[in-house]
């Protein structure tokens, strides 16, 4: 291989031109993925990402719509490279993996990677990850809410060849198809991933034709070094020290009375940042466990929030970042612990990592958001005899900061999901939404008020509706900052047609019948500053965000 002296050939202009192109290529890959995928979760949940990697498995450029995907492909690509070293790769190869215990995330997320060849040499790698509709296991969609081992969650794929020198691995394809409830969708989406990888590879080859592969690879190294330099620089601006944060999650859906501890110690020193999760609960029985790729995505999200937003995101940003994840803990479970419901754990770890720095970076860190995404799902058989499943993801309020009220009902941190319109829900299922309104008094009181949660009240219009409820923050509130009050915790209940009231203990799986009602109230964000200093409390009352009583009790208004 021809080595070139980077300082001699790399000029800052061409470097920036190439950077713009790499971002364009990643975006084009992501677009290809979104456009050519079949399953709604890709198209509407944007649960997919596309990346370019260096031959050393560092991220060159990435396009992802939700931070859960940020850099999650890194351990995947490393794992593939370990199993299939560069020198064994052939043109037309494509590699596949989904096993969380081999660098994956959870089983529905399947990664596909193709090496990018230029004149017989691998110059980069083009990779995508997509959340697939079904990969087997004991519940449709492969997200069983009460799994206790990964074997129940679906088919595990270790690093394997999906294509070899341009030909499909027929044995593997047959096995994949046989194990999915939606074999056509699965193959369609895998091919969409392959198409996106090929777009990335084609455009990288075109760049190598124009600029020469040696220069291009030298520029890749330069780009990573530059982002590393800038990230270290930004980290040096944070006062050195160790910052701690502790929070509690409700339960794992299996052992309902057992709270789960999330503890982080963030140490900033000499341009590096370390996230130590010692003190976090041992791994849990239910599927809330979060494998290292998830904890790492949370850490990278935190670094992007805490440092200069203009730094181009690539593997260089992650070089100064280290994680300590105690083996056997919630944040680094040991096989065969179940992992499919790890999103709420990633969200909480991410929020905790950022919130730890609140005192050190008051300009960048608000009071904690509710940081939850309530999952509710209704399933049954409609009057037309067809099965329906409708699910929705419901956010709470964001946290307040100096000069800034929290935002009401907005998804925060590692996810970014839309809600379901009442008019969509009612067309799909025998359910009527009776009200969708801001949850008065749920925002943490403060000079700047935390964002409000939402109240949604459902009326069930048929018998035999299965109902899943996966909540968070029922037993802990988002705390306030600088004298601000905590947001209201979540609260959900079932009002049976016969008059009985059942409080939902954060997680529930039950059957609803005609006339039953479900009321969910999502949590509010933390407030900022002494509530008695708030100057706009009269508007809050007029606009229905604070009750007159709360104004008197919490804000000291008569």
């Amino acid at each position: 291989m021809n080595r070139v002296d980077r300082n001699e050939v790399v000029d800052p202009i061409t470097t920036e031109v190439i950077r713009n192109k790499l971002e364009g290529i990643a975006n084009e890959m992501e677009l290809t993925l979104l456009k050519s995928s079949f399953s709604p979760i890709v198209k509407e949940g944007l649960d997919t990402s596309a990346s370019l990697f260096t031959v050393k498995a560092e991220t060159l450029a990435q396009a992802c719509a939700i931070p859960v995907h940020l850099a999650t492909l890194i351990p995947t690509i490393r794992s593939m490279l370990q199993r299939y070293p560069l020198e064994t790769m052939k043109e037309g190869d494509a590699y596949i993996l989904n096993d969380p215990y081999c660098g994956g995330t959870h089983l529905p997320d399947i990664a596909i990677m193709t090496p990018v060849f230029h004149h017989g040499r691998v110059i980069a790698m083009s990779a995508t990850m997509t959340h697939h509709g079904d990969v087997g296991g004991y519940s449709p969609g492969s997200l069983p809410t009460n799994s206790t081992e990964i074997y129940q969650e679906g088919l595990r794929i270790p690093p394997l060849k999906f294509r070899e020198a341009g030909a499909y691995n027929e044995t593997l394809v047959a096995l994949l198809r046989q194990n999915s409830r939606l074999p056509d969708t699965l193959m369609g989406d895998l091919n969409a991933q392959l198409a996106a990888c090929n777009v990335g590879a084609r455009r990288l080859r075109e760049l190598a034709d124009v600029y020469g592969a040696d220069l291009l690879m030298a520029i890749f190294d330069e780009l990573l070094d530059r982002s590393e330099t800038m990230t270290r620089e930004a980290l040096r601006k944070i006062p050195e020290g160790t910052y701690r944060y502790v929070d509690a999650m409700d339960n794992d859906g299996i052992e309902l009375d057992k709270r789960i501890r999330v503890e982080v110690a963030v140490t900033v020193r000499d341009g590096t940042i370390e996230f130590d999760l010692a003190g976090t609960s041992p791994q849990v029985k239910g599927p809330m466990n979060c494998v290292p790729s998830g904890s790492q995505a949370a850490a990278y999200y935190a670094v992007r929030v805490l440092t200069d937003p203009t730094i181009p995101t690539n593997g260089g940003c992650f070089r100064p970042v280290s994680l300590k994840l105690p083996p056997g803990s919630l944040a680094n479970p040991v096989e065969p612990a179940p992992v499919n419901a790890r999103t709420s754990t990633i969200k909480r770890i991410a929020t905790s990592m950022v919130s730890a720095l609140a005192a050190a970076l008051p300009d960048r860190v608000a009071a904690p958001a509710a940081g939850t995404l309530l999952v509710v799902a209704f399933g049954g058989t409609g009057r037309d005899g067809k099965r329906y499943i409708v699910g929705e993801l419901i956010a709470g309020g964001s946290g307040a900061a100096q000069g800034l009220d929290g935002v009401d009902v907005v998804d925060t941190d590692a996810s970014n999901c839309m809600n379901l319109p009442a008019e969509a829900l009612e067309m799909e299922a025998p359910i009527r939404l009776r009200r969708v309104e801001l949850r008065r008094d749920s925002g943490g009181a403060g000079e700047f008020r935390g964002g409000l949660g939402v109240v949604r009240e459902y009326e069930i219009l048929a018998d035999g509706v299965t109902f899943t409820h996966r909540g968070e923050r029922h037993y802990s509130a988002a705390p306030g900052l600088e004298g601000g009050q905590p947001g209201a915790p979540a609260r959900s209940m079932i009002l049976r047609a016969g008059g009985a009231e059942e409080l939902i203990p954060s997680k529930a799986l039950t059957v609803l019948n005609r006339g039953d009602r479900v009321i969910v109230e999502t949590p509010g964000g933390g407030g900022y500053g002494d509530p008695r200093r708030r100057t706009t409390i009269a508007d809050d009352i007029a606009n229905g965000k604070v009750s007159a009583e709360a104004a008197r009790l919490l804000y000291g208004r008569s």
Partner: protein
């Protein structure tokens, strides 16, 4: 009509009122076209129209009574939103849903931040002015709870007591059953006839309550403002003896009479840019290209739009001030790169350009208004592209030494390179950014840009066009006669257009062609009534139908042209699969459903003959030479400088060259051939050097 009378000249006038300049284009029935830029009177933009009328009478001898058509493109709707100068309004909703507008869809734009700002336009109507009344329609359109009229009266009275001048009404499922919303409008009309009302079943009869409520609230917020603005303008024109009715450009790229436009202000958001795209498509068409990409490079942004088969692509929703608004508009995609974009070095000394912009105040360093940061325009000066003495036709004298100093201090010296190399670097970086923007917009619509012609607009477009086309492998660039005032001339080319849509959710398998025909006929009646108000004869109207179609379960859809004859349903299915394959790369046999039906009525607007042949001014177009530096030329090369208005059609010349005109400068890199066509467009072709 007295055919023997001496022919009196007839004129059509287009007036595009922008933030800084008001562009006026006047075309006579003898093919003559004149244009002028006059400063916009910020405090009272509609005064610009009168200024234009007076200017035309004074300078061009165009008498007001000879003006047979007066078309206006306006930013007043957009500005009222940006400046929060709409009306105080109330909102009435179904009981239990008064917060729909504020809750929105719960997703956010700032992904990597925990300091969040509201994602929904709460400023339109805060909680205190949002009221709910008992009423309920089910998902199948049946009335479940009757409208509580006493509650309506109570809430309306109270809102009026609070001082609102308009009320928006948005009930659940009103796109299936309009009765309750219409009854509220009647009640308001009886109680307070002066109040303006916007009903969601009229503004946007489609499903998803947040999007419908949001655009309806925007409509009410703007109605009193737009109504006053356009009424004043109508009165002013009348009192100045302009006999013709005022027409307004709408966001979809068609014009409507002012009297109709006043009723539906949310259709004016993209009035100006839509006219630019229409102007660009006319230029492309004249040069034999009906597939073009327009890029309008202004001070802070580059706006990219696609025209396929002569028609601008329409998006079902757009963005306004960061808010998604569901109203059809020409699909204009903005990227944060323009002439005023600032070049800077980041923490690792990488040369970055934008998204911060120097705007027009203080503007690029060369403006000499105190801007000390180097911009793309400053780089253009150093590279020899723009003559500092002939910027905006010489109306603004630029100071090249300030450009050099800014680039030297902020970029060249820290990077240890020459000022010229730094300037070229700024162009290379911003061009890479814009080229990726064009590529992304094309791929998104399933289009290969290499097949398309590039039509640069705005003062900055022609400076960058050849470099962008080279970067993208596009072979042809069409520089319109007046790229800087193309919006105004686009106003004169646009058809009169009225469009109506209705939600129609039937699956294709169960839909009946009879139902379809009935719905389309109802839409036709709405459009025909509007055309009648315009005074346009039915036989002059061209009707097109469209259906929004998706796979069952998909939440996005494609617009498919509809021909209501023969086996319409089978054809829709086939066309949908083909469109899905073209745009998304695949399609599969599977259950398909309708979402909306749409009828679009168009009529030729122009009362005068099409533009005549382009006649250049007399004189030698060559006005000397100067050195320019391009990426392809290696070092500075001597470029011939031409005066655009003197280049004769059919004359061919080659890059390196620079073509100057009052509103822009065209840079022709080495390796390009240039020619002016019969309509005056400057057409550049790549790969044909001398």
């Amino acid at each position: 009509m007295n055919l023997s009378a001496a022919p009196v000249p007839r004129y059509e006038v287009g007036v595009d009122i922008g933030g800084t300049f008001t562009d006026v284009v006047c075309r006579s029935d003898r093919g003559m076209m004149r244009l002028v830029k006059i400063p916009t009177t910020r405090a009272n933009p509609s005064a610009g129209v009168l200024n234009a009328v007076q200017y035309m009478a004074r300078e061009w001898g165009v008498l007001p009574e000879q003006i047979v058509r007066f078309v206006h493109g306006t930013t007043v709707a957009t500005n009222a939103v940006l400046e929060r100068k709409g009306a105080k309004i109330g909102l009435i909703t179904t009981q239990g849903f008064r917060d729909t507008l504020e809750i929105g869809r719960q997703n956010r734009h700032a992904v990597y931040s925990v300091m969040l700002k509201p994602e929904t336009p709460v400023f339109l109507v805060p909680g205190a002015l949002r009221r709910e009344v008992p009423e309920r329609v089910t998902a199948s359109g049946e009335v479940l709870v009757a409208l509580d009229e006493a509650a309506v009266r109570r809430e309306v009275d109270d809102l009026v007591a609070q001082g609102v001048s308009a009320i928006a009404v948005s009930f659940l499922f009103s796109y299936l059953n309009q009765a309750h919303e219409r009854r509220v409008a009647e009640i308001i009309g009886e109680m307070h006839p002066q109040l303006m009302v916007s009903l969601s079943c009229e503004v946007d009869p489609a499903f998803r309550e947040y999007e419908r409520t949001c655009i309806t609230a925007f409509d009410a917020y703007l109605k009193p403002v737009i109504d006053r603005y356009l009424e004043n303008m109508e009165t002013d024109l009348e009192s100045n003896r302009v006999g013709s009715a005022l027409q307004i450009m709408q966001s979809r790229g068609g014009v409507a009479s002012s009297r109709i436009a006043r009723r539906r202000p949310v259709r004016l958001f993209l009035s100006g840019p839509a006219a630019g795209v229409i102007g660009g498509s006319m230029a492309g068409d004249a040069a034999g290209y009906e597939d073009i990409i327009t890029i309008d490079i202004g001070g802070t942004s580059a706006d990219i739009a696609l025209v396929s088969r002569g028609k601008p692509l329409i998006a079902a929703e757009g963005m306004l001030d960061g808010y998604a608004v569901r109203v059809p508009m020409v699909d204009v995609n903005a990227i944060g790169a323009g002439g005023g974009s600032i070049a800077w070095l980041d923490g690792a000394k990488s040369l970055r350009v934008g998204p911060a912009s120097a705007g027009s105040e203080p503007g690029p360093a060369c403006y000499g208004r105190g801007g000390e940061l180097p911009t793309v325009t400053d780089a253009s000066i150093v590279l020899g592209y723009v003559d500092p003495g002939y910027f905006a036709g010489g109306s603004l004298r630029l100071q090249p030494e300030l450009s050099r100093r800014a680039i030297e201090e902020k970029i060249a010296r820290p990077l240890g390179m020459s000022v010229e190399q730094a300037a070229l670097g700024i162009h290379r970086v911003v061009n890479a950014n814009m080229a990726e923007g064009i590529r992304f917009v094309s791929v998104k619509r399933g289009i290969d840009p290499r097949r398309f012609g590039l039509v640069p607009l705005g003062g900055g477009g022609p400076v960058h066009a050849a470099a962008l086309a080279r970067e993208l492998g596009m072979r042809r660039v069409i520089v319109p006669l007046h790229p800087g005032v193309l919006s105004a001339s686009g106003l004169l080319s646009a058809p009169v257009e009225h469009e109506a849509a209705v939600a129609f959710h039937d699956p294709l398998d169960h839909a009946s062609a009879t139902d379809l025909t009935r719905e389309l006929a109802a839409l036709d009646r709405q459009c025909a009534e509007l055309m009648r108000v315009e005074g346009i004869a039915p036989e002059a109207v061209d009707i097109q139908y469209f259906a929004d179609v998706c796979y069952v379960g998909q939440s996005y859809h494609l617009e498919i042209p509809l021909k209501p004859a023969g086996d319409v349903l089978a054809r829709v299915r086939k066309d949908f699969f083909a469109a899905h394959d073209r745009i998304y790369g695949h399609s599969a046999e599977g259950p398909v459903q309708f979402v909306n039906l749409r009828s679009v009525h168009q009529a030729r607007a122009s009362a005068v003959a099409a533009e005549g042949n382009y006649v250049p001014e007399e004189g030698d177009p060559r006005k000397g030479a100067r050195a320019i530096l391009t990426e392809k030329s290696g070092g500075f090369v001597e470029a011939q400088v031409y005066e655009r208005r003197r280049i004769r059609p059919g004359v061919t010349f080659y890059g390196p060259a620079v073509v100057e005109q009052a509103d822009t400068t065209t840079v022709i890199e080495p390796g390009w051939r240039a020619e002016v066509d019969g309509r005056g467009n400057l057409v550049l072709t790549q790969g044909e050097s001398k």
